[in-house]
């Protein structure tokens, strides 16, 4: 005699094979963005660094230079709170603030949402350059693709030469590394060769550019490098 337990026969546990990317949904949105950026011919970079490394100051300089050269540039700037950065940059280029309400990183859907708002000011096809300034954080933005053509990681001279060794995951995910505030290098005793070796240890073969938002050093080189990304496949 077969005894059927209440609720029917006890099901055997079974294994469902998945092998799916955890961030598949984000990656799908990012993939859609990348395709749009590519079709529109706009070079898009995702700027990541610790808070206070000088992303916004350098971006202001870069956008101003782009304007002088007739390069059409815009920015999406992410922060946990306030639209201070957007107001600061609005004098030089079209910009939208992404307020993450405390979240520690940007996700592709946030970029997609705010891109629509930005496009009310300037259509994507009319842009040469779009910079997405991520939330200041050297850990969490690592995992989230935003559809960018290049990931730019910034390292200020005041942070210490070994920052890349302390945050290898993010630096390893970079395409370009910018050393910022080099006008302060001497004052803080920054050892540039040691810093470059630290970058090369975790991110070999990446271009490393010295920059200063105060003096303008390196800003033209950054602009040239980012625009060259438009021709990349």
């Amino acid at each position: 005699m077969t005894v059927t337990p209440p609720g029917g026969p006890a099901a055997q546990p079974r294994i469902v094979e998945l092998r799916r990317g955890v961030l598949e949904k984000n990656d799908r949105v990012a993939g859609g963005l990348r395709e749009r950026f590519s079709t529109a011919g706009v070079a898009v970079s995702n700027w990541v660094s610790s808070p206070g490394s000088g992303k916004t100051a350098l971006l202001a300089r870069l956008l101003a230079l782009a304007g002088e050269r007739g390069v059409s540039a815009a920015a999406l700037v992410g922060d946990c709170a306030t639209d201070n950065d957007a107001r600061r940059l609005a004098q030089v280029a079209p910009v939208r603030q992404i307020e993450t309400q405390g979240m520690c990183h940007l996700e592709a859907s946030m970029v997609a949402d705010h891109l629509a708002a930005l496009e009310a000011t300037v259509p994507l096809a009319g842009l040469d350059l779009l910079v997405i300034e991520n939330v200041g954080n050297l850990v969490c933005p690592t995992s989230f693709d935003l559809g960018e053509g290049s990931r730019v990681v910034l390292l200020s001279v005041t942070e210490g030469e070994d920052k890349p060794l302390k945050y290898p995951q993010l630096f390893a995910s970079s395409d370009v590394v910018l050393v910022t505030k080099v006008d302060l290098a001497e004052a803080v005793g920054f050892d540039a060769p040691v810093a470059r070796r630290a970058v090369a240890t975790v991110a070999p073969d990446r271009p490393v550019l010295d920059t200063s938002a105060r003096t303008g050093q390196g800003v033209a080189a950054v602009l040239d490098l980012l625009l060259a990304g438009r021709e990349a496949p």
Binding site: A11, P13, R14, L170, T201
Partner: protein
Amino acid sequence: MHELSVARAVVRTVLDAVGDDTVDSVEVSVGALSGVAPSALEFCWDIATAGTSLAGSGLQITQVPTSVYCHPCGQLVEPETGLCCPRCDQPSPDLRSGRELLVLAARVRDRGSP
């Protein structure tokens, strides 16, 4: 602390695949360069699964080490510092593993079974 976002993404992926079935455990792989801390992911698991058919399920994390192909040495190696070959100490840009962030499998039972 983005591991809560990651944990929620794991939950969504599993729910999409198994529907209403009860989930006993979920297996994920986390690469050393993925930017996800396994301990933080474990910490978030109960919060992310609460109120879903994954509530009370276990989370098994397989950690994937960073590996690079060292061209001067002609072999696949696991760096101890950055992406440097432990034999010749030269960094290699030829990354072969470490970025993984995957839901591998879920152990499930039909809804209502004990």
